[in-house]
């Protein structure tokens, strides 16, 4: 086994265990920590796949910002603010059908992959593949437009987050009363001006 293999093994195990922890943890904080483990594991694999720039980005943006934000919100809501997960609720049938189905689906995909492709080693990566120059050139070269758009997206997301978090709840009763379409189409004089001209004999 080559040293790369070992490294890949470790990262893979960390990532998978982290993912399992994320979804099975009772306490959301532990879930966030599981997420962090997965992200770090995947960052490791990036390095293995000679995608150094991405590994850095992954660690900085994902691990640094996203997981932190999660922890921040979890602490804001109080660590034990989990819903009553236990109780039987109508509609829970969906879960116990969907989950096995998903796993079967992915298993099928994996089997298909295994049967169809003939695995062979990576070829030698061209020099500078995955470095900041390559990816940067690509981002600011061909993918300039998506880049600008993503900046706009980020700004909108920020403003959106603020707007949602701050606004007061609207009471349901204020909703404008909607006149039934049938009543309006076939009902009496729909137009105020129309009522004025003639006696509204039909409007029963």
């Amino acid at each position: 086994m080559t040293p790369g293999g070992y490294f890949f093994g470790v990262c893979a195990v960390v990532a998978v265990l982290g993912a399992l922890a994320t979804i099975s943890a009772r306490n959301p904080i532990r879930g966030a920590m599981g997420l962090l483990a997965t992200i770090v594991g995947i960052a490791g694999m990036y390095v293995q796949l000679s995608a150094q720039f991405l590994a850095a980005i992954q660690l900085i943006v994902y691990a640094g910002a996203v997981v932190v934000l999660f922890v921040f919100v979890i602490m804001l809501l109080g660590p034990d603010a989990h819903g009553a997960d236990g109780g039987k609720r109508p509609g829970s049938w969906a879960r116990w059908i969907a989950a096995p189905l998903v796993s079967v689906l992915l298993l099928g995909g994996a089997v298909l992959l295994a049967r169809v492709s003939t695995p062979q080693r990576f070829r030698a990566a061209p020099p500078g593949h995955g470095t900041i120059e390559a990816v940067g050139g690509d981002v600011f070269g061909r993918a300039l437009v998506p880049f600008e758009l993503s900046t706009a997206l980020l700004i909108v997301a920020a403003v959106g987050a603020i707007a949602i978090a701050r606004s007061r709840a609207t009471k349901p009763s204020e909703r404008p009363a909607s006149v039934g379409a049938t009543r309006r189409l076939f009902g009496g004089a729909i137009h105020p001006r129309d009522a004025r001209t003639v006696d509204d004999e039909v409007a029963r």
């Binding site: 049938t182 076939f186 003639v198 004999e201």
Partner: protein, 622 residues
């Protein structure tokens, strides 16, 4: 004789008609007298103009027929409908005058259609590409048959509108809009020769009718409007599926997409496909006719519809079903139509004529009674079409037009007493002959037309249909039996009409409210006069209609026979559709060009005009 004397001699009949019309109404009011006199003179002019024997109709070569006339007739009301939306809602009189103006203009324009020569072929034909990628073209034309149905529409709608303006006072703008849109939709459906265009107009008609019934109707108007809409929609959706299959098969066989009736009617589908498509078309038209099992929407729609809506629904909308069967079912599916003719004729007789009459007899609402009588009359029409003889088909078309006039007049008359008493229950009336003598006279006269007393127009059509059934080969061995059963319908017609006439008009005045009902008003008399005049004119001189119909009916019957032969010739297990040979001649004028032909033509055109620098003129209709 000096020219002056000859002029006087020439004008004498019109002056006499004018005087008779003017003298007729007893009450004063010179406006009514003038109007009635004018109608009488106009009616006489129409009859003399159309008189078959008189001047031999000049056979205008196609060049003389202004190709855009049909576009004017169809799109004038549609454009008018659009224009109505911009007129102010508060001045109903302006709206009414504008609508009536457009409708009368349309009537005058449609009178020019009479210049078409009576021999077979498509007249006033106009073709323009609409969606070339799908082979859909704006292809309109008329022949002997659709000419009269267009005239029936343009003749009846102004009357219906004129009467409705008298009684419906709310939402006048929407009323005008609906009338104009309905007129445009109906005319378009009658003249369309491209199946897609036919389908568009077929659906367009439903919307204004839905409004007419839904907005100004009776108490349960919304339920009746929905029922009417859904019934027709269910049928037409099936028809659309059949159209698409036809177009697809045609493309498979001929290689190019076209929705044109001329091309698709050459298609001979394999056995099961032909029967299924025929079934789909038949269902769509049977709902519209309405034929026996699918007729229950008609009484509800009529009972809830306002007078104007009822007149149009009875006079024109039902005829689309029968016209559709004649043009599309018999035109495109000769084989299945021939095969199903005997059974369908029995359904038309026992389900339509006899069943309709029996139901009509027991109704206590006059409008429901007239609605069931429409089912009976249209049973005759369908019987005429199934009989497949020339007399049968011509009789069917005559019954279509005469039913339009007689039942239109009946609904108008029922509207008269509805406006006075706001009820249609027969038991509410009794002994109306005393307070309203003129109204009684007109009602009895129209009843005689509806029953089919010879001398009125009702008789001519039914007589030809019954004789057509007797000598029909399509109905095979039981033609005589069906002829006898159809003739029996004549008795039931007398039974239900006379029983309602007696309950409403004769006998002592039972209900005090009926004692002092005012007789016919000026508006109602003017609306009724042309219909009553036509009852007698068409009753005694049906040749006005049939002369221009002979050739076109022959053409349809020939195509029907060819379709049958081709269908029977097709080997049993054949799974491929085939195209019949093209016959050429006037009936194929305006046949859709396949793309190669079009390219070849464009190439030739370009070659011809290459030296001249002027841009290639847009070709005459492809």
């Amino acid at each position: 004789m000096s020219p002056a004397v000859r002029a006087v001699f020439e004008l004498a009949p019109y002056l006499a008609a004018l005087a008779a019309g003017a003298l007729l109404p007893r009450r004063s009011g010179w406006a009514e007298r003038a109007a009635l006199g004018l109608t009488a003179a106009l009616a006489l002019a129409l009859v003399r103009g159309l008189w078959p024997g008189a001047a031999p109709a000049p056979a205008p070569s196609p060049a003389l027929e202004w190709p855009h006339l049909l576009n004017v007739i169809v799109f004038l009301p549609l454009v008018g409908a659009a224009a109505i939306l911009f007129l102010p809602r508060q001045s109903p009189t302006l709206l009414r005058r504008f609508t009536l103006g457009i409708l009368v203009l349309d009537l005058v324009a449609s009178l020019f259609l009479l210049r078409a020569s009576p021999e077979r072929g498509w007249h006033f034909q106009f073709i323009a590409d609409w969606l070339p990628s799908f082979g859909i073209r704006y292809h309109v034309a008329i022949d002997g048959i659709s000419l009269w149905l267009v005239l029936l529409t343009t003749f009846t709608t102004p009357i219906a509108a004129f009467v409705s303006f008298g009684s419906l006072k709310t939402r006048v703008k929407d009323l005008c809009f609906s009338f104009l849109l309905l007129q445009g939709g109906m005319l378009g459906a009658f003249v369309a020769l491209d199946l897609f265009l036919f389908y568009v107009f077929w659906e367009l008609m439903l919307v204004p009718m839905l409004l007419l019934i839904g907005v100004w109707g009776g108490v349960e108007r919304i339920k009746a409007a929905y029922k009417f809409f859904l019934y027709t929609m269910a049928g037409s959706v099936l028809m659309l599926a059949a159209i698409l299959y036809l177009v697809w098969s045609h493309r498979e066989v001929a290689g190019y997409l076209t929705f044109d009736y001329l091309a698709l009617s050459r298609l001979v589908l394999p056995k099961t496909a032909a029967w299924l498509c025929f079934g789909a078309f038949l269902l769509a038209f049977a709902i519209k006719v309405p034929m026996f099992p699918l007729h229950t929407w008609l009484p509800d729609a009529h009972v809830q519809a306002p007078t104007g809506g009822s007149i149009l629904l009875a006079a024109v909308l039902l005829k689309l079903g029968t016209y559709g069967y004649l043009r599309f079912c018999m035109g495109m599916f000769g084989g299945p139509a021939w095969g199903a003719a005997a059974t369908l004729a029995s359904v038309a007789i026992f389900g339509g004529i006899l069943y309709g009459a029996l139901c009509a007899w027991k109704q206590d609402d006059i409008k429901r009674l007239v609605a069931y009588s429409s089912v009976a009359h249209l049973g005759f029409v369908m019987l005429g079409l199934f009989a497949g003889t020339r007399a049968g088909v011509e009789g069917a078309i005559l019954v279509m037009i005469n039913h339009g006039i007689a039942t239109g007049a009946l609904f108008l008359l029922v509207g008269v007493i509805y406006d006075r008493r706001h009820t249609r229950m027969v038991r509410e009336f009794g002994g109306l002959a005393r307070p309203m003598p003129i109204y009684t006279a007109v009602f009895v006269l129209v009843t005689m037309a509806s029953i089919g007393v010879p001398g009125t127009n009702g008789f001519v059509g039914e007589f030809m249909v019954i004789l057509g059934t007797f000598t029909s080969m399509t109905l095979g061995s039981n033609a005589q039996m069906q002829g006898v059963a159809a003739a029996f319908g004549v008795i039931l017609a007398a039974v239900y009409m006379l029983s309602v006439v007696q309950k409403v008009f004769f006998g002592p005045v039972t209900n005090p409210k009926n004692a002092h009902l005012p007789d016919l008003s000026a508006r109602e008399t003017i609306a009724l006069a042309p219909l009553v005049a036509l009852i007698f004119v068409l009753g005694l001189f049906p040749r006005i209609l049939t002369d221009r119909m002979h050739d076109s009916v022959d053409a349809v019957l020939e195509r029907y026979r060819e379709g049958r032969l081709a269908h029977q010739e097709l080997p049993e297990h054949a799974t491929t559709a085939r195209l019949r040979d093209r016959r050429g001649g006037p009936l194929e004028r305006g046949y859709p060009k396949s793309p190669e032909e079009r390219e070849a033509e464009a190439a030739k055109l370009a070659a011809a005009t290459a030296p001249a620098s002027a841009p290639a003129a847009q070709g005459a209709p492809q």
